[in-house]
Symmetry: C2
Subunit: 313 residues, 2 copies
C-alpha cells in the first residue's frame, strides 16, 4: 500500500509517495502559499494529485498545534489565524483518509520509525530551523501532550527579560537560536557597522534570507560575526536542552532541521558540549546524533500517520 | 492485604500501614539519621517492625535517583556517596518484597492513585520543600525517564550565571525557590542589617531551621523580607514551570511538599499567576491544585509501589 506524506514548512510544501519499507519513491515540492489555509490546502491537493500513483491515505505535518484533526494555531504561516479543520477539509478534497500532526513531532516520528531514533524508548528531538522545534518519544511512545502542544523547547525561557521572541514573550531560546532571530541580529550588527560575509553569501547563493546553507558556508569560512552569533545560539540552546533533559531524562537527542542537514554530527556535538554543564543526572550513555533522514524525516513521519489513519478507518 | 509505605525525607522518615482502600491505618516517624545508608536502612526496618501489623510488602520513596532497585545518588542526605542496593538489602532485612522510587515521583503517584491527580492523564507535580522536586504522569502513566532521573524541575535553569545551587550549578530554580536557598538569602539579608521576624518565629516554634510553618507564619504576618524572598521564589518557579509546560503540555499541576501543606490553594494560585505569561499553548482548562493527601502522599504512593512489587514477585 502506497501512502503520501506531506511536510508543510514555512518556505516549502514537500510531498512524497512512501512505500511499505518507508522508502520515499516519488517527490513533489512547491513554495508554501502565503494567502492562508485555503491556498495551503489547494497546494497540498495539487501536489498529491501530481504524483504518479494515488495514495490510499495522506498524512500531513504542519508547523502548528494539532489536536484531533484540528489545526489550533500555526504561528509561522501567514494569514492563518483561526482554528481550521484541515483534516476534514482535505479528506473531502482528496477522498482518502487524512491524518495530521505537528511538523516536528512528525519529523521525529520519521526518525523513530526508520531513522536515527529507531528502537529508542526515550528521545528528545530538537529541530533547528526558522524557529526552534522539539518533539519527544517517551517510554517507547511518541508523546504529543494533552492537546498536541508538547515539545515546544523553543519557548523554554533561558534569559528572563531577555531578547524578544516571535511569540511576543522575552528570553525564549528561539529568540537566540532560531534562524529568523539570528538573521535579525546579524542585520542589526551590520547596521551598527560590523562586517560579515553572511549577506554576500546570501546573494551569491541567490537567496532572499539567511538560509541554513548560507550559515553553514559563513561558518566554514570562519566569518567572525556568523561564528559569534551562532556560538551564542548554541550556548543558549544547550542551556534549554539541559533543562529539558533534567525533566525528561532521555537516552538520545536527535538534532534535525535545516541546520542539522548542513552541519550534521558537528552540530550535535556542539550542542552536547553546550548542554553538558547543565545536566544533573544524564543517562551515562546519552547519545547526540543528527537526523538520519534529513529532509525526508517529515515526509516519512507524515506517511506513517497516514498508515495509522487507514488502520483506524 | 496490608502493605507499608516509607517516605524518606531530609528531616524525617515516615512509615505508614496502608490498606487496600489506600487509607493509612497506622503511622510511625523518626528523624532521618545523618550517618549514611546503613543507619537509614536500620531506621526503616525499626519503624516498619514497630507497626501493629506486618506488611506483606514495603515501598520506599527516597530523595534520589532510583533505577531498577538501586539508589544511584541521594544529593540531600548526608554521607550517602556511593550507589546502594537499598531494595536488595532491605528485602534481606525485612523478608518481604521491597520496591523503591524517587520521593517526589512516589508522592505524585499517591496523588494520582487517590488524591488531587486521580484519573488525570497528564500531570506535572511540583514539590516545594528543602529543594524543588518534580514528577510527571504522561499519557496516563507515571513517567520516570530512561534511568529514573526524570522530573528534576528544580534544576531547570532560570537565570544563566545566576545564584549558586546546591547541585553546584548556577541559576537553577532551586537556588531561588528551595527552602534551603531562601533561608540562606534571609540570613544574608539579616547580616546586611535588614529586619525580619523569620528567625524570631523560628525560635518561637522551637525549630532549628526556617520550616514551611515558619515561612507560612511570616507570610501571614506580612513580614516584608519574607514576602520579598518568597515573591522571588514564586516568580522564578513560575518561569520554570511555564518552560516545562511548554515542553510537556499537561492538563493539571499539583503543588506538594511542606509549603503546599501550609499554604494550600493560595500557593497553587500564586504559581499559576507567575507561570501564565510564560506559557505558549497551555491547555485551556489547565488546573492548578495543592496536594490533597499532604504529608501522606509519599506514604500512600510508596505503598502502591509495594503492591506492584507483590504482583511482580
Amino acid at each position: 500500500m502506497i501512502v503520501a506524506g506531506v511536510d508543510v514548512g514555512g518556505t516549502n510544501i514537500e510531498v512524497g509517495l512512501v512505500d511499505e519499507d518507508n522508502d520515499v519513491i516519488a517527490r513533489a515540492k512547491r513554495n508554501t502559499p502565503t494567502k492562508g489555509p485555503d491556498a495551503v490546502m489547494a497546494t497540498i491537493v495539487d501536489l498529491v494529485q501530481s504524483l504518479d500513483e494515488s495514495p490510499v491515505a495522506v498524512g500531513v505535518g504542519i508547523p502548528g498545534v494539532v489536536h484531533q484533526g484540528n489545526v489550533l494555531t500555526v504561528p509561522n504561516l501567514s494569514k492563518w489565524n483561526a482554528q481550521v479543520d484541515l483534516g476534514g477539509v482535505l479528506e473531502g478534497m482528496l477522498e482518502v483518509p487524512v491524518a495530521l500532526g505537528n511538523d516536528v513531532n512528525v519529523g521525529l516520528l520519521g526518525e523513530w520509525i526508520t531513522g536515527a531514533a529507531h528502537g529508542v524508548d526515550n528521545v528528545l528531538g530538537v529541530w533547528m530551523g526558522t524557529g526552534i522545534g522539539g518533539a519527544m518519544v517517551l517510554d517507547g511512545r511518541p508523546f504529543n501532550g494533552s492537546r498536541g502542544a508538547a515539545g515546544e523547547i523553543g519557548h523554554v525561557m533561558v534569559q528572563p527579560g531577555g531578547a524578544l521572541c516571535g511569540c511576543s514573550r522575552r528570553g525564549c531560546v528561539e529568540a537566540y537560536a532560531g534562524r529568523r532571530s539570528m538573521a535579525a541580529t546579524a542585520a542589526a550588527m551590520v547596521d551598527a557597522g560590523r562586517q560579515t560575509s553572511l549577506f554576500d553569501i546570501r546573494n551569491d547563493e541567490g537567496k532572499n534570507t539567511l538560509t541554513s546553507k548560507v550559515w553553514a558556508r559563513a561558518l566554514a569560512e570562519q566569518d567572525e560575526l556568523a561564528t559569534r552569533i551562532f556560538g551564542m545560539a548554541i550556548e543558549m540552546l544547550g542551556i534549554a536542552i539541559a533543562s529539558v533533559i533534567n525533566v525528561v531524562d532521555v537516552e538520545l537527542v536527535v538534532v534535525g532541521g535545516g541546520l542539522a542537514e548542513k552541519l550534521g554530527q558537528d552540530l550535535a556535538d556542539r550542542l552536547r558540549i553546550a548542554a553538558t554543564p547543565g545536566m544533573l543526572h544524564p543517562h551515562p550513555d546519552l547519545r547526540w546524533v543528527p537526523s538520519a533522514l534529513g529532509d525526508d524525516a517529515g515526509v516519512v513521519g507524515a506517511a506513517s500517520l497516514a498508515r495509522a489513519a487507514i488502520i483506524r478507518a
